[in-house]
């Protein structure tokens, strides 16, 4: 949590610092990111940085929590609250589509999120022991869908959950690497879902 000194800062200055941090963490891993670089780009003294945050990790956690909040804000509230009412593949579509909207509108946050997801030790340090929230989320959805007879009973929900979680990465990587956000996004999602759906659906 940043110190009060930071929170008391004029919004403009706060933003300059956050922006600098995003730039640094988007292009370097947590360990390789330099406090000095952030201070330089934000045009503050290094000493000031430590008036605002306990240390580098303090800033990073703050950033990540903000990113998670932002990410969550992209999920349709109704879908969230009435999960039980919708068919599995529709929920999945919503999950993918909110993900791609987030990626499209926050291109600089995407690589930071990807890096974090790929560094399990770091992830654990920030969000605690339970490393695979995403996989758990999909697994649970899959188990319910299986109970509802929506998907092929032969499917192992754990394996499928891993696959789907992996796919959200592929999607992010695809979007990020090729910058293919300009082509019809929903077409990409639908193609992916089409593949997944044909694979999982009860025949």
């Amino acid at each position: 949590m940043p110190k009060d000194t930071f929170l008391n800062l004029p919004k403009e200055k706060q933003e300059r610092i956050i922006d600098a941090a995003i730039d640094e963490f988007a292009t370097h891993s947590f360990h390789q990111a330099r406090v000095t670089a952030i201070a330089e780009q934000a045009e503050i003294a290094v000493g000031s940085f430590y008036q605002y945050f306990e240390d580098k990790m303090d800033l990073f956690k703050y950033l990540m929590e903000a990113v998670v909040q932002k990410k969550i804000s992209y999920i349709n509230r109704d879908t969230m609250e009435n999960k039980g009412k919708y068919p599995f593949f529709q929920l999945l579509r919503e999950a993918f589509s909110s993900g791609i909207r987030f990626a499209k509108e926050n291109p600089r946050l995407l690589p930071i999120g990807l890096m974090l997801m790929k560094d399990k030790a770091l992830y654990r340090e920030i969000f605690g022991e339970h490393v695979d929230k995403g996989i758990d989320f999909f697994r649970q959805m899959l188990e319910e869908a299986k109970a509802q007879g929506e998907i092929d009973p032969a499917i192992d929900p754990r394996l499928a959950a891993h696959m789907i979680a992996g796919m959200t990465f592929s999607l992010s990587d695809f979007v990020y690497a090729d910058g293919k956000v300009d082509q019809d996004d929903m077409a990409i999602i639908d193609q992916m879902l089409y593949i997944v759906e044909n694979g999982l659906k009860k025949k």
Copy 2:
């Protein structure tokens, strides 16, 4: 490339060093891995390390090249040489199955490979500019399969290639995380392929 001094070492000592390196790189990223720790575990002086290798990267590249060779050795030679003759989904099965056999028989190499694949900057430094060899490989296979009418013409081979490459990760992660190599491996692969096949196949 290690120096001659290393190559002249008795096999036993070479192995001690390589083993120590594998342990270190399996539990730490390249940047976090410590030369000192490797030297300690191998019971050589830090100075000796630099008699054997130019620097940390030199050792790491050497290791990675060995890993790639080993990985390749798991691919069925006949499949490699007569790629054109086999149907796409059979090739895919072979690719997955060689991957899982490799993972099973080299559990300590798996996390190193995973880490490398996830760190694109590092990957580039070791294998050169062309970061996505795996994706390219699948894309090419998919394009040929599409031309042969094996897969749904609506599929974008680039997207599907990303998905399949991502899936090989999911598979590795799954195998690595849960240590689920004891359950019937081919059953896992077949389930994954079943999903993929139903998703991609020409209807």
